[in-house]
């Protein structure tokens, strides 16, 4: 007979769910993870480009990502497992006054929250990004503590590490119902059976809204989609992840970003100017023709880079672009780690650490006031917006 009673059930084996399950397992809980896909990280985790930065404008994201960075940068040392960590920092090169204003304007908040970041002149940016278009380059920010990790390696590593410690994973088993009685959660139901637990965590990413509805809870998470691609490996020639927050002249891109990973492959992505809502993950003919011009315009030598593969992933967005970590007051024992807004991977370890502490001890690791700002019950329309989305 296989087990049906667990200390905690996590719905979703993605960037967030894996980390929550991992930390809960480390705390000695018997955890079950359910996912509709065939293996861990097969939703949006594997679509992430792997950049991990604490360079945000929002205090909660800064602090959570600093914890993620701590996790990623020391994981190999602690476990012997390589996650493809490249400590190359993030750089936002700037060509126009308006972007200079935005970036300089958020430096105080970033520094206050513990981020090592500064503004540098064009010479330093040229050193960081060899071959960058010098025409009109005003300078930019550089935050050396940021870096890159392989999302795929991260998912596989957390899965194996938690599994080895007794965490159970059921794949190809979507949750069909939540068992809720008298304002309390008792477990979940799938096509294969009922699993009991007093703690259920919704970490279902792009499908968080549907899972919430099973408990009668309206979660304001709507996915939109972004395309990404990867090159063939090349000898390393730049270290930082590069973000250009200028909107594109073609009228389709809000910003774009890329970095060279531990294998020497350049991974790249753009944010569509007008969000493309929905869960469609099919490739479009437009993506490469648009991003190619933007990247070559920024670093002309990239014109000779071979493009290997493209894909499309989802950003489960909240109205204010900031994540939700909380417990559901109306359904005791039901927790939310949702609305990662396309940053589940960089937030993941920080999310896992804080959720595990919150579930077990009633309080997160990050300061309570910051935690309150990512509450499910906040005002999503108070005018707060992440500036570096």
């Amino acid at each position: 007979m296989s087990r049906t009673n667990y200390d905690a059930i996590v719905i979703g084996a993605g960037s967030a769910g894996l980390a929550i399950a991992y930390y809960l397992t480390l705390e000695g809980l018997q955890v079950l993870v359910l996912d509709s896909e065939a293996s861990p990280g097969q939703g949006q985790n594997k679509a992430a480009i792997g950049g991990v930065r604490a360079t945000h404008s929002d205090g909660a994201k800064i602090t959570l990502c600093l914890q993620s960075l701590e996790f990623y940068s020391t994981f190999e040392e602690k476990t012997g497992i390589d996650l493809g960590w490249v400590p190359g920092g993030y750089s936002f090169p700037v060509y126009r006054e308006e972007e200079e204003k935005i970036l300089k304007g958020i430096l105080p908040t970033q520094k206050k929250n513990g981020l090592v970041i500064d503004w540098y002149g064009p010479e330093r940016i040229k050193e960081l990004i060899p071959g960058i278009n010098e025409n009109g380059l005003r300078g930019g920010t550089f935050s050396p503590g940021d870096g890159q990790v392989s999302p795929l390696k991260y998912a596989a590593a957390l899965w194996k590490e938690s599994k080895d410690r007794g965490c159970e994973y059921h794949f190809k088993e979507p949750v069909t119902r939540l068992v809720v009685k008298q304002g309390r959660i008792h477990g979940v139901k799938t096509g294969k059976g009922v699993y009991h637990s007093d703690i259920v965590v919704n970490a279902a990413g792009s499908y968080a809204k549907e899972i919430g509805a099973m408990a009668g809870i309206e979660i304001p998470v709507v996915p939109d989609c972004h395309e990404a691609g990867i090159s063939a490996p090349m000898e390393r020639f730049f270290d930082p992840l590069v973000v250009d927050i200028r909107p594109g002249p073609e009228g389709k891109t809000k910003n774009f970003y890329f970095g060279q990973n531990d294998r020497g492959q350049v991974i790249f992505c753009y944010t569509p100017l007008v969000p493309i809502l929905g869960t469609n993950r099919e490739n479009t003919s437009e993506f490469m023709t648009v991003i190619a011009r933007r990247m070559i315009d920024l670093i002309p030598r990239l014109k000779n880079m071979l493009i290997r593969r493209v894909w499309r992933g989802l950003y489960p967005m909240t109205p204010d672009g900031i994540i939700i970590l909380d417990r559901v007051r109306e359904v005791k024992g039901f927790y939310l780690a949702v609305g990662m807004c396309g940053q589940g991977f960089m937030l993941g370890p920080g999310v896992g650490l804080n959720m595990a502490n919150f579930i077990l001890r009633g309080k997160p690791v990050i300061p309570q006031e910051i935690w309150n700002s990512i509450s499910f019950y906040r005002d999503y329309y108070a005018g707060r917006k992440e500036a570096l989305k």
């Binding site: 065939a38 293996s39 861990p40 990280g41 097969q42 594997k46 060899p130 071959g131 278009n133 392989s150 795929l152 390696k153 998912a155 596989a156 194996k160 794949f171 090159s231 063939a232 490996p233 090349m234 000898e235 020639f237 020497g264 469609n280 099919e282 490739n283 479009t284 003919s285 437009e286 490469m288 023709t289 991003i291 190619a292 011009r293 990247m295 070559i296 315009d297 002309p300 030598r301 990239l302 014109k303 000779n304 880079m305 071979l306 493009i307 290997r308 593969r309 493209v310 894909w311």
Partner: protein
């Protein structure tokens, strides 16, 4: 770069070029100069980089970043990326890029550096191509579909990634089976390619793009095409995927060594490009591809040291098998390849007998010194693009090998039928004749029963001895006889032929039989010394056909019979490439003799090696250099989703996108008794080939034509 022994001497004399060939015309071509790693080399204008390098004795194109292992050719067909070299500093698949005068080619050592070329290029509009039908692949299926559409005036674009049409027909120097009326039976594949290409040119509604790869299909119903430095977007009403097949891979120790490559790659080098890449060749696989390739090699004067087939019998046509056996090639059935060895390049192989479970039997190992080992263990359809088109709801069809692996004659029919199906979908009122479908089915059929040869002893001056005893779709002999004395035994083209009637000794039947299974006999040639005269087909170099030469005669299957004497030879009436040779043999041996040996079989050396067929250090994923041991470790750890293998050990993450390793990994799952229904296949994503970023931006440097 180190070279295997024997190569350097040959390289100096330019000995890797075919200077004369019994079938192929060796024509003068303009010579150009290029450099490889700074050394000056010569090439013929228009040939691809890898061919030019092979012709200059270079078979190692670089070393892998993971472990420094030497990288050689594998497919020569743009499917794998083994032959990546640096052309003017940029990595390219050497098998797809024509060499140009003054080109600076370098071996690809580790991960290449991106050149510091910081000029901002101009961006051109990406042209949108309008067409009703896009046909991907200009081989027998694609061309015939285009002809059907062209006859109706349907706007059609045919693209092919090579620089000439014909697909694999351009490699097929042998004459075709099938029927003369339907699919050019009795004509050589290279000729059929020419005939079809000419037909294609007749239709104003059909346009063509060569050197053009369909790199991806997209959800907005577009298909992306790359031609040189240019990118095009096509939005067709229907797409035909007719891009053929790729060769299956086989995992064994040393399978990744330069010198171990696909039979198709060898045919490309030899028959398309007239390069003779080997002196001593061994073949794995006794299907038609392996058997025919062995014959092609012997025609080019290459020593075929042997052929292994894991099954107790070769799966190819008996007539193809018999050609090799008569020439003296040892055919090792119920044998497998155990190991390939060499420092930078193949030097030696070891084979072994297998038991009923295909496990090697200890003590049966034999080693042979060879420089090249060809893998001919079957083909898989190139259908990734088709699957994407289906996924994205684009009206699409497939034909030829992309639909079902079969002979090119079947592909011709499948192309015709599919061309009409597409026309109907576009609204043309046109029928598909029932007999087309039945002919296609027959041409696709596997060989049937094999009978005993019926060699009647007739009281005639001269008559044919027909040794065609296996049921295969073929009838040119029946059409060739001016006296109509040869007929098939039944209504089906699968039936064997029989002689009944007159014979004038014209030897047309000898000249036309694609299986070389017909000879003439003159029983009483010299009544006094009791000899007979045999008239046999011959397709090798004629230098050894001096009258009066004594030859060791063999029967149809290559068993020694006795000794004969060459009397004369002549060019056949109906095929200028085939010779008709007459030999005098003792009358009591005459009905046994079907040929004479050319090669001296070698026994190899016995030498015990570990009889483990796929040891843990065998390379499974060539692009990322992942071993069987690494894959087995993951399977043992419970991984059932091949997408996780991508994350943990990177199988399928390389340039080819899992085209070569996916099947090998599935074989390891099977070997470890995993139920394959539990295994999730890797996700297939664009692009089908790597494309420079600048091409997508309209910033490519080369001109193209649409």
């Amino acid at each position: 770069m180190s070279r295997a022994k024997g190569e350097s001497k040959q390289a100096q004399s330019g000995g890797f070029r075919v200077l004369s060939h019994p079938i192929l015309a060796v024509v003068e071509r303009p010579e150009i100069s290029f450099t490889f790693n700074g050394n000056p080399m010569k090439a013929y204008e228009g040939e691809v980089v890898t061919t030019a390098l092979f012709a200059g004795g270079v078979q190692v194109f670089g070393h892998h970043p993971r472990d420094g292992s030497p990288q050689g050719i594998f497919c020569a067909n743009g499917q794998c990326s083994q032959c990546t070299v640096l052309v003017d500093g940029l990595p390219v698949k050497g098998c797809m890029v024509p060499v140009r005068a003054g080109m600076k080619i370098g071996s690809c050592e580790g991960s290449p550096a991106l050149p510091a070329d910081d000029d901002l290029p101009a961006f051109r509009e990406i042209p949108a191509i309008e067409t009703d039908v896009l046909i991907i692949g200009g081989g027998p299926a694609g061309i015939n579909a285009a002809i059907e559409l062209g006859l109706l005036g349907a706007k059609t674009l045919v693209v092919d990634d090579k620089n000439e049409f014909g697909g694999k027909l351009t490699l097929q120097t042998h004459t075709f089976f099938g029927s003369r009326d339907d699919c050019y039976a009795g004509t050589r594949g290279i000729e059929i390619a020419r005939i079809l290409t000419h037909q294609l040119e007749r239709f104003p509604s059909v346009s063509v793009m060569l050197g053009t790869t369909a790199v991806g299909a997209f959800c907005d119903k577009q298909v992306g095409l790359q031609q040189g430095g240019n990118y095009f977007q096509v939005k067709p009403r229907a797409v035909l995927v007719a891009c053929g097949a790729r060769e299956k891979n086989l995992a064994f120790q040393g399978c990744d060594l330069p010198g171990v490559y696909g039979a198709g790659a060898f045919q490309t080098l030899l028959n398309r490009d007239l390069v003779r890449p080997t002196e001593r060749l061994f073949i794995v696989g006794g299907g038609n591809v392996g058997l025919i390739t062995g014959y092609h090699a012997i025609q080019a004067g290459i020593k075929v040291v042997g052929l292994v087939e894991a099954l107790p019998r070769c799966g190819g046509y008996k007539v193809h098998l018999d050609k090799l056996r008569r020439l003296g090639v040892p055919i090792h059935t119920s044998h497998t390849i155990l190991r390939a060895e060499g420092a930078e390049k193949l030097e030696r192989i070891t084979i072994a007998g297998v038991d009923g479970n295909f496990k090697p039997v200890a003590g049966t190992e034999r080693s042979y010194r060879v420089d090249t080992l060809l893998i001919a263990v079957g083909l898989s359809p190139v259908n990734e693009l088709y699957e994407k088109l289906v996924e994205y709801g684009i009206e699409c069809y497939k034909a030829g090998d992309a639909e079902e692996i079969a002979e090119a004659s079947a592909a011709i029919f499948s192309g015709k039928i599919t061309g009409r199906k597409i026309a109907r979908s576009l609204g043309y009122e046109i029928d598909i004749p029932d007999e087309w479908n039945s002919t296609a089915a027959i041409l696709r059929s596997k060989p049937g029963r094999t009978a005993q040869p019926d060699l009647p002893r007739l009281e005639r001056r001269v008559y044919p001895l027909i040794r065609c005893v296996q049921e295969i779709p073929c009838n040119p002999c029946a059409d060739s006889c001016p006296r109509n004395s040869i007929a098939l035994r039944g209504d089906s083209i699968m039936n064997n032929p029989v002689f009944d009637g007159d014979c004038i000794g014209c030897a047309n039947c000898v000249a036309v039989c694609p299986g070389l299974a017909i000879g003439l006999i003159m029983p009483e040639y010299d009544a006094e010394s009791k000899t007979s005269l045999l008239v046999l087909p011959y397709e090798l170099d004629t230098k050894d056909l001096a009258a009066g030469r004594r030859v060791e005669t063999v029967d149809m299957e290559g068993n020694a019979v006795g000794v004969g004497t060459i009397v004369a030879f002549r060019t056949s009436n109906i095929d200028a490439k085939r010779k008709i040779v007459s030999i005098e043999v003792p009358a009591d041996e005459a009905y046994s003799v079907a040929g004479f040996a050319v090669l001296v079989p070698e026994a190899g050396e016995s030498g015990a090696v570990a009889a483990e067929p796929v040891p843990d250090d065998t390379i499974i994923c060539r692009c990322e250099r992942i071993t069987a041991g690494e894959v087995r470790g993951e399977i043992r750890a419970g991984v059932r989703d091949m997408n996780i293998l991508k994350a943990t050990i990177r199988t399928g993450m390389g340039a080819c996108g899992g085209k070569t390793c996916t099947e090998l990994i599935l074989r390891l799952y099977r070997e470890m008794d995993v139920d394959l229904s539990e295994v999730t296949l890797p996700t297939n994503r664009p692009f089908t080939a790597e494309v420079p970023l600048g091409v997508f931006a309209g910033a490519g440097s080369e001109g193209g034509e649409a």
